[in-house]
Symmetry: C2
Subunit: 127 residues, 2 copies
DNA sequence: CTTGACCTTCCCCCTACTGGAACCCCCAGT
DNA sequence: ACTGGGGGTTCCAGTAGGGGGAAGGTCAAG
């Protein structure tokens, strides 16, 4: 199957699929005319990547997860370690955003939002 | 004052200060020898930028906020609008991350994390 | 034979910086 | 006078993860 069908089936855009091939995540075959040919396993891999990315795993993690997926002798501890670390970094990001959100929400709350210049948001930024 | 002192006072790194000048956020003077010279107002602006960035405002927002800060005839409604939109995008990011976190936490919880290959994390990615 | 939908590669663009190389400037010490 | 070290400067390249779009090859239908 061609790239657009693979894209439709996996909901990974063609551009992204080409990028994944470029960085060695997938290895579709080539037709004599130069078109990429995707086998079932390639599509399966792309779908795997799409889900892993949707969970926020970085490309490097995806590479390792793919290898573990294909390694029937893997230890689930390794998978769990990667996922746990990722979970930790998600928690850290959430905490950062919550902190920003807290401050910002207070300021927005306190701002009259009218046509006069006095504004606690600006004041807090300049002080 | 030179760039490193401005950096120390504002906690904005020299590299970042140069970048901000390049994109037109600050306009320090120049000494005859080519060194940047930062006036009090430049330092004040950098500190403003540092705080705005710490609240997660993008560079374009910072540009507008700076202009509003300097515009004594500003309407606080404009400031509030920018901050509210930003708050909305922060909330959206938090929601995305929470969704990821939820799924991921369940999977991590369910994974034995031993030396056997069966792993619900992998299973959920391949299915 | 042409049209339109695919496909290809290639290169630049994005955010907001960061690191590093190559080079200039100034002051203190010997 | 020379040297060393700690400023400063510019420019180039790279980051993550692709997106946009140009220039050009391919294929099936009418």
């Amino acid at each position: 199957m061609n790239i657009s069908e693979a894209a439709d089936r996996t909901r990974v855009p063609p551009k992204t699929i080409r990028y994944y091939e470029e960085i060695g995540l997938v290895h579709p075959l080539r037709e004599p005319n130069g078109y990429r040919r995707f086998r079932a396993e390639d599509v399966h891999k792309l779908a795997f990547l799409g889900r892993a990315r949707a969970l926020g795993f970085g490309i490097d993690d995806c590479r390792v997860l793919l290898a573990l997926w294909e390694n029937k002798a893997r230890a689930s501890a390794e998978v769990k370690r990667i996922a746990s670390e990722h979970l930790g970094s998600i928690d850290a990001k959430i905490a950062d955003l919550q902190a920003m959100r807290g401050t910002l929400a207070e300021l927005v709350e306190a701002c009259a939002g009218n046509d006069r210049p006095d504004c606690p948001i600006i004041t807090s930024l300049e002080t």
